[in-house]
Chain length 233, copies 2
Amino acid sequence: MKLEKITTRRPAKKSPPSARSYDDACGAAHALDLIGERWALLVMRELMFGPKRFSDLRAGLPGISANVLTQRLERLEEIGALSRRKLPPPAASHVYELTPWGHEIEPVLGVLGRWAARSPLHDPTLPLSAASLMLSFKTMFDAKRAKGFKARVGFRIGEESFLVRIGDGECDAARGACDDAEVVFAGAATAIAAAVYGGVPLKALEAQGALTVEGDRARAERFTSLFPLPPKM
Amino acid sequence: MKLEKITTRRPAKKSPPSARSYDDACGAAHALDLIGERWALLVMRELMFGPKRFSDLRAGLPGISANVLTQRLERLEEIGALSRRKLPPPAASHVYELTPWGHEIEPVLGVLGRWAARSPLHDPTLPLSAASLMLSFKTMFDAKRAKGFKARVGFRIGEESFLVRIGDGECDAARGACDDAEVVFAGAATAIAAAVYGGVPLKALEAQGALTVEGDRARAERFTSLFPLPPKM
DNA sequence: CCGGATCCCGGGCGATACTG
DNA sequence: CAGTATCGCCCGGGATCCGG
């Protein structure tokens, strides 16, 4: 029996509440101080292929609320991971762009993604942003499977278009026109992921209208085989 | 003027509150669903060199509270990143140990640490756990600087001891006896970090009693030069 | 309509006290 | 020593509001 809960109210306000830091010299701990808050790393992911506006970011991050996105952008700017620019006159709008250092977060996305892909809980059928899909190509590319293969593959996903260049055991992806691509995929990112990672035949996806493939069909088929998922743990 | 705020109280309880998931097929997003909660990755860091008990973990994670540590351990076990074992009879205690898949988180700690070390906000003089220090050696090792150098370097930090083996452009660290080491550092992790990363001379640290160096002094000096910090961004 | 700002609310997280 | 219980704060989610 509690006798007389003596709430001597001393909320203990130290110096500051130390602003929620790990106070740890370990580099990984400091990284979490910088970008460990919810959504922060995913905001950077969305910016990996170039600047975006506030609403473009929201579109690629279903579930984030406007206030949280605002806070994350402020924090990322404050630490020097991104910069906020004003667009030239007619568009009275802002864009957010990673700094060179901010862009160096890419390997983190790669190793995190490869690690998590081995989890039995990973569900590759969930929605996917265009930036995530392009990053996954760079991450999961298997040079051995691409032996002797050289291609420029275009992607049209919503308003965005990307060009993936494969050759010499390398795989690079960048935002850009598909004009000089030998084959172009057009459709939702999820549909393309179904072809590449889910093993769904291109013809099936085209039949249901989820995807269109224009150009060199053989290259398209070959392309879908270059990104093996790691074995489940 | 607000007329009659019609609080039609519908707290909107969807199906579940969906348990705070990103619902994103991106591998990195799923990784954050798994280990994105506060402290989770640092708990794994403390276990990188072998099993530990509850209080050992608390010691290496100053600031974590018992209930949060309990929750993180439960979650990490649930996802298959660690296992909880009961120690043989006399010690009626538990230890926590990473699974092989859990141990594969190491590259994440490496790339995160390298990235954050370039931040101007990084303060290498903060406290540091022994596990963090050993990981930093594996992360920051510069093979070129170690050309032609071969050594077994022991560390005694509190109750723990580690052996770092350097040779053939490789640097490996493991928990273990220092018996066959050519040189042994004994002291707090922070003092050793001051020598290796802060450029503080060994003699100075020994003079103030922060550190002792036994054995091959030349190897000790050379060792401290092998781990250059990356340039600030 | 875009790019946020403001408010409310619930739950994650931190601190402390307590228990086997 | 190894957790469990409790409580309060503040972060994060959702809706609404507002200036250009």
